[in-house]
Symmetry: C2
Subunit: 329 residues, 2 copies
DNA sequence: GTGAAAGCGCTAACAT
DNA sequence: ATGTTAGCGCTTTCAC
């Protein structure tokens, strides 16, 4: 590995001049520039990022913290993040914080240590400690919190409008004439759950449908959970079912099919997330789509904006989505 | 951010002593150690990784280079990689090299610049330049090539035994009594394609079945490709079809079903990869599974071994897999 | 058992 | 337009 000193010697200049050229300074004679560039080329020289980081602080690196090892839903999103970051001249460091986010603090500290310029923080589960730490470091490092429902933390935040979109689904069903609209919600420990559920409630109200507790089932975020909820719900003869996630909806669909219930003939069904499996079920699942790739891009854009204007007031971005009608409605 | 100097001052010692303690030296008076540790605690001190990297070279970081943005098949594998790396005290840097691996060289250089201790390189498409570069840097950085069929490069390599496993599938079908076994291979540009196809040929030979060119179709690695191949193949009345990937097999399955061919009644079908969709098709697809998580762990283990013994001869690991019989056989 | 001093590769302030 | 100099925070001889 050759150093800036080697380049300087080969080009017959001082290392300051080389450094200036590397930094893109214009105050250089053309002939000097040429010689230095030739030397760089010849030696295959690349500046050490440690020395640079030590002097400059900035590293041109973004970190993405993701819960649960590589959940499939994040793939498109990551693609969006990396693409946009790359186009803006940033590298991306992806860290999965493990189930229950048990590595969150460890990775957070490590990223600070590595002086990343910005952090994109994902977590469905609210972690007070991490949030407090993020707020603490946000004076030095740009931070954007994703998918979390903030309560008072002074942090930027981007998330999908789970409430509004669920409401939209409910209203669609109501407009179609359904009155007995059931809801399969996830476990209560997540903010996302509560938020989407609120959308269900709002949708009922706006459609003038009275709430019926018997039409709501809570279930684990799995297909089994969805199947169980469908079984419990079926005795209530719903005309439509909205589920908090596609997995839940798919589980319900499976149970309904196996028990001779025709979808959408006997009951309508709408999921949430638009995971790839939706087009593989029979009938194919209607759902709410968030355009994950775009979410990723917006997240990075937001992060870069924060880096540019560190003193701006924290802002919250609510992202829309789309009702995708396939064959279960 | 406090520095080692702050710690030294607070503890009333020199920074040398602090550094020694950080490095785990035993030659320290107990009282000194206590004072220093207290100071570290109080200042929330974390050594700068730039200064460390500059002095030591090593960074306790591994890089994974992946082709095509977050292909689903890699998720389990990455989980294996990260878990094992973490347990061994390493951070993992994940870089997706984009479609056609167009960012390969860029990222490779960046990783070298960041002095990662090891690189896990994935790419189905052979890239001479990248391979040459990897060979070049392998004297300084541990490198393990994944999934590539090396030709003479002096590099460690881990890959799944595509040939042997395909052979196993063919022999299974032959043992079941099938004679007319067709094969859907991928496009010829990939080494993996050739390798798996060779397994088909070997399987036929070992089973004493003469090769029939009419029973082989080449197709793009998509469901559409698989469907087209199935259509072309059907006129040849095969008793069984083996496909180079699950996507191909699933496409074929779709076409067969839609054209009234019963699977496995009229024809047996086996895929390769065991992607999650396999259990979602009807009937569920029999396939060859590679235990991706384990592949990831083995890859890291191999990389760490190389780091320990930089002068060992390059080795090639061929990983086995498992024939998973579901409902298409 | 502890410290002083040199230097890793780079940038930036200050000459010239 | 180019060079000199002084560190960034750390580890590592080498003294004491």
């Amino acid at each position: 590995m050759s150093t800036i000193y080697d380049v300087a010697r080969l080009a017959g200049v001082s290392k300051t001049t080389v450094s200036k050229i590397l930094g893109g300074s214009k105050n250089v004679r053309a002939s000097t520039l040429e010689r230095v560039n030739a030397a760089i080329e010849e030696l295959d020289y690349v500046p050490s990022c440690f020395a640079q980081g030590m002097r400059k602080g900035a590293t041109n690196t973004l970190a993405v913290l993701l819960p649960e090892q590589y959940n499939y839903g994040y793939m498109e999103l990551l693609a969006g993040v990396e693409d946009y970051a790359d186009r803006s001249g940033y590298m991306t460091f992806v860290c999965s914080t493990g189930r229950d986010g048990r590595y969150e603090e460890k990775y957070l500290k490590e990223m600070v240590r590595r002086k990343v310029d910005g952090i994109l923080y994902f977590a469905y589960r609210r972690n007070e400690k991490s949030l407090a730490y993020l707020e603490h470091i946000s004076t030095n490092i740009a931070v954007v919190v994703m998918d979390n429902v903030l309560r008072g933390e002074r942090l930027d935040c981007v998330r999908v409008d789970g409430s509004g979109l669920t409401k939209q689904a409910v209203r669609y069903l109501a407009d179609k004439g359904c009155r007995r609209i059931a809801y399969i919600r996830g476990l209560g420990t997540y903010d996302v759950t509560t938020e989407r559920y609120q959308g269900y409630l709002d949708g009922l109200e706006e459609s003038g449908i009275p709430f019926d507790a018997g039409l709501v089932q809570e279930a684990e975020f799995t297909m089994e959970g969805g199947a169980g909820a469908a079984r419990a719900l079926w005795s209530q003869k719903p005309e439509a079912v909205v589920a908090a996630t596609d997995m839940l909806a798919l589980g319900a669909l499976n149970w309904l099919e196996e028990n001779g219930v025709r979808v959408p003939g006997d009951v309508n069904l709408i999921g949430f997330d638009n995971i790839p499996l939706c087009v593989w079920s029979r009938p194919r699942l209607s759902t709410i789509s968030q355009n994950q790739r775009q979410v990723g891009e917006i997240a990075v854009k937001h992060l870069l904006a924060r880096m540019d204007e560190p003193d701006q007031e924290p802002s919250r971005l609510l992202l829309g989505g789309e009702l995708i009608l396939r064959e279960t409605t």
